[in-house]
């Protein structure tokens, strides 16, 4: 994975995999009208070339290897999946809708078997028919070690998934838990109830791959398109991608992708400041340009807000994401809930938000779940610190905990320049805690080292900065990896930072997973978050806000709460 260049806020799922390649954030102005301010004729038309200016190259442009939320942005132009995200603004965009399939999936009674039927008349870029066997093959090849990179859910959920090695080993051996009774039907057998399976089916691993075209690790050079565009050129391992209209794609089978431009030119490996400057100048081809991975940094925002024309070309988006302080109660003195609570009271969220780029780029958080409906967000503030911290309450708690004369602790953070787990945030916390008599020593680690350290239960520090992003907009992938006691990983990447193993929490997670009514599930996730919050295993700090520039001739800007990013499949340049 690439190191974030300066000023790029990295949208990273806590699984250390960059979503920026696929999700990122951009957008429409403060309200929808701003999108229309872009051109004189607001109505989108077909034609033209859309330029995408990105910092991270589209490496691993293979549906098996991509780690996306909702199928990604540029990848979603080429790869269709069983289901996909709703391409609409705001909260509506956080819904899951059918894509290749006729519906979002039909579960059996306890949500352990999911059946999908493919639409009729689906073809690849060469006109051949897309079959359910191809979808099965696409899922299977993502199990191959050489095509790793995707999310871990398939391995955990599918019956027999844990031991399956992919189709290359044991020549042609398939995964028995995926059945294809006929050309259009596919059935998945899971080893436990998973009401959120439709969300999972948005990921690129559910893209059909024709077995005859599979070239293993070389497939990424020219993956076979099922979407509105096909890959014409792939230079320097995804540094430049040229996509052209796939004549065999039909809008009749695809209600989600608008595909206005005739051509999409993705140029990556650019410095983030260069991207923002080019978008701001908006000259030549850059007038028809967007970015799917580069936000405005604080300094750039300061410049942009002073310019009316520029400000009208800034899109704002919210991606389900939380930056927080994590405690490991196995390390003293954080075993004492009073110490954790004292820190929660002492935190100055105004300073932290400023360090993260100010109130336009970050919203203070008191809940672990992102402040969006689809996550089941339920407001709470168990340890009210106010705007700038409640030092006296913190001191009082410390006294009760036996630290009347103050306390010295070490805060571990990353040295990545991401304004998330970086030194800027750490020093803001250090300064606030000083007022409550807590002396904070900083331990800054190089980014990889930092991840290895916090994700290994043997080395996990007691007090550190962390963040978590949504694999899909629901409470499940947000709460389960962090608080499900059975997901504590002893020898590998562990995300249950508080090492919480509470039977009532585990049971409630199981119960919610059985629900196939996603609205009801969301409410229960929200309630669970509020309950876990009482234990002060984390101190939520802020939810980032994404602000991105787009070129002056760009129309039809749609930003969903699912990705928080301008959706390239909706953009028009004519």
């Amino acid at each position: 994975m690439r190191h974030p260049s300066r000023r790029t806020r990295r949208v990273t799922a806590a699984l250390t995999v960059s979503l920026i390649v696929t999700a990122g954030a951009a957008a429409c102005g403060p309200d929808d009208n701003d999108a229309k301010a872009g051109g004189t004729d607001a109505k989108p038309h077909k034609g033209g070339t859309l330029t995408v200016l990105n910092s991270a190259p589209q490496q691993d442009f293979d549906p098996a290897r991509l780690y996306t939320s909702g199928g990604g942005n540029v990848p979603s132009l080429v790869f269709r999946t069983l289901t996909t995200r709703n391409r609409e603004d705001g909260a509506k965009g956080a819904q899951v809708v059918p894509d290749l399939a006729t519906d979002t999936g039909r579960p059996n009674k306890d949500a352990t078997v999911w059946t999908y039927t493919l639409k009729e008349g689906l073809t690849y870029e060469d006109g051949t028919k897309i079959t359910s066997a191809d979808v099965k093959y696409g899922v299977e090849r993502s199990f191959a070690a050489e095509l790793s990179g995707g999310a871990p859910y398939l391995r955990d959920w599918l019956v027999g998934g844990a031991d399956y090695q992919g189709p290359y080993k044991d020549k042609g051996k398939g995964l028995d838990s995926i059945e294809t009774p006929d050309e259009r039907t596919i059935v998945f057998h899971l080893n436990k109830p998973e009401g959120e399976f439709p969300y999972l089916a948005t990921q690129t691993q559910f893209t059909p791959v024709p077995k005859s075209a599979d070239k293993g690790t070389k497939y990424e050079e020219h993956p076979v398109s099922s979407g509105p565009y096909k890959v014409v050129e792939n230079q320097n391992d995804g540094e430049r991608l040229i996509l052209e209209r796939n004549e065999h794609w039909s809008a009749r089978t695809d209600e989600e992708r608008k595909a206005y431009p005739d051509r999409v030119d993705v140029r990556s490996g650019l410095d983030s400041s260069v991207i923002n400057q080019r978008l701001s100048a908006s000259q030549g081809a850059d007038a028809d340009a967007v970015t799917t991975d580069t936000n405005l940094g604080p300094a750039e925002l300061a410049e942009v807000t002073g310019d009316k024309e520029l400000a009208s070309r800034v899109g704002t988006g919210h991606f389900g994401y939380t930056d927080y302080i994590a405690f490991n109660p196995k390390v003293k003195p954080f075993d004492n809930p009073k110490v954790r609570q004292a820190i929660a009271y002492a935190v100055d969220r105004t300073s932290v938000v400023n360090a993260a780029g100010g109130s336009s780029l970050a919203e203070p958080a008191t809940t672990y779940l992102p402040n969006q409906k689809s996550f089941g967000h339920t407001a709470y503030d168990h340890f009210p610190a106010g705007k700038s911290g409640n030092a006296s309450k913190a001191e009082e708690l410390l006294k009760q905990a036996g630290y009347a004369n103050g306390l010295t602790v070490t805060l571990t953070h990353s040295n990545a320049k991401d304004f998330e787990t970086s030194p800027e945030i750490a020093t803001a916390i250090q300064d606030a805690l000083k007022k409550a008599g807590i002396t904070v020593k900083l331990e800054g680690l190089e980014d990889n080292d930092y991840k290895d350290t916090i994700q290994d239960v043997k080395t996990e520090p007691g007090f550190f900065l962390a963040h978590w992003g949504a694999d899909w907009p629901s409470g499940g992938p947000f709460l389960a990896p962090i608080f499900d006691g059975r997901q504590i990983v002893k020898d590998g990447a562990n995300f249950n930072t508080g090492q919480l193993n509470d039977k009532s929490v585990n049971d409630e997670i199981d119960a919610i997973n059985k629900l196939t009514d996603l609205d009801e599930a969301a409410q229960r996730w929200g309630a669970l978050d509020k309950k876990i919050g009482e234990q002060a295993l984390t101190v939520p700090l802020f939810h980032p806000v994404y602000k991105r520039l787009y070129g002056k001739d760009v129309k039809n800007v749609v930003i969903s709460d699912w990705t928080g990013v301008l959706d390239v499949s909706q953009v028009a340049v004519k």
Binding site: A302, V353, G357, L361, Q430, E446
Partner: protein, 327 residues
């Protein structure tokens, strides 16, 4: 470049100036060097008095002032000239609102301190290796000289960056930075010391001392070191500003001292993006660094002229290693 500097300097057998008084006399007549010396003295004073000065101002380098920045506009300082006021003599840092004056004077401590320590390491290792090579037998000389050649050829920036990344973070950072710069940069001093030692060895009184059974240690201390003082001081004076640049460069790349310890190089990294929205945030540390390195360079040049007026014109500018620390 490495060999270029070395070539020029090994050719130069410096005549020891006769006494400290003569040195001062020669330094005093150089106007530029005098100005530079006063600037350096002022900077050292600033660094030493940093806690006192910021106390007079009523600020410290780490306290956040969220009220002094415009949060909605990315945290740009409120007010004119980057939030310049009677409380904050040079304004505040964007996003954090930390006092710039306090951060700059504390940053001077890091800059000067690390560079000084690195120079000490370079001189010490260079002296030991150089004397050992020059005074030892042919094999010792060959081995040490080849080794020195290799060290001189190691790319400074690249090596220190890489080394700083693999050392565990528990190690005190300023010390580490100084040691890394020092351990990679002693080569040129060792070369000069070796050349001088070879010449000195031939001199009658050293030979006599050897014949009369003095120990090597005693000879080194009594005969060699005093004679080596002039060239080593000259070279150290030239290395000092180079090390300032090196520390700033490493901090600039994020490999130097860690926050919240302020350092100029680190300030420049974060100021880099603010060149349009808050230019003074960038200009202040850049200007200070510029003045410091320039003053030290002019002073070093003056020291060289004063110690050996004849050689001054022949030596090309710099120590060779310099460029790399800058590019």
């Amino acid at each position: 470049m490495a060999s270029e500097g070395a070539r020029a300097s090994t050719e130069t057998v410096l005549a020891p100036a006769s006494g400290v008084r003569q040195f001062w006399r020669r330094l005093r007549v150089q106007r530029a060097a005098l100005v530079a010396a006063s600037v350096v003295a002022l900077l050292v004073l600033l660094a030493l008095a940093a806690p006192l000065l910021s106390a007079v101002e009523g600020q410290d380098p780490t306290t956040y002032h969220p009220d002094l920045v415009d949060s909605a506009r990315g945290g740009v300082p409120v007010g004119t000239f980057g939030g310049l006021s009677a409380d904050h003599w040079l304004g505040v840092e964007p996003q954090t609102g930390r006092d710039l004056f306090a951060r700059l004077v504390y940053g001077a401590r890091v800059s000067l301190g690390v560079a000084l320590a690195a120079t000490v390491v370079e001189v010490t290792v260079g002296l030991v290796m150089g004397i050992a090579a020059g005074y030892g037998n042919r094999w010792v000389d060959q081995a040490l000289s080849r080794f020195t050649d290799v060290v001189v050829a190691l790319p400074l920036m690249v090596m220190s960056l890489a080394l700083l990344a693999i050392v565990p973070s528990g190690f005190p950072r300023p010390v580490l930075v100084a040691v890394v710069i020092g351990l990679i940069g002693w080569g040129s001093i060792a070369k000069i010391v070796r050349a001088q030692t070879l010449t000195l060895k031939q001199l009658d009184h050293v030979a006599a001392a050897r014949l009369s059974g003095w120990s090597s240690w005693r000879i080194a201390r009594r005969e060699l070191l005093p004679a080596l003082a002039a060239p080593v001081i000259t070279y150290a004076a030239l290395l000092f500003p180079v090390n300032i640049s090196a520390e700033a460069a490493l901090s600039f790349l994020g490999a130097g001292v860690k926050p919240p310890t302020p350092s100029w190089g680190q300030m420049l990294t974060s100021a880099n993006v603010w060149y349009q929205a808050a230019p003074q945030y960038l200009l202040l540390p850049a200007g200070l660094l510029f003045v410091t390195v320039l003053a030290l360079t002019v002073l070093g040049d003056g020291v060289r002229r004063a110690l050996d007026p004849r050689a001054a014109s022949r030596l090309s500018v710099g120590t060779g290693r310099k460029k790399e620390a800058r590019a």
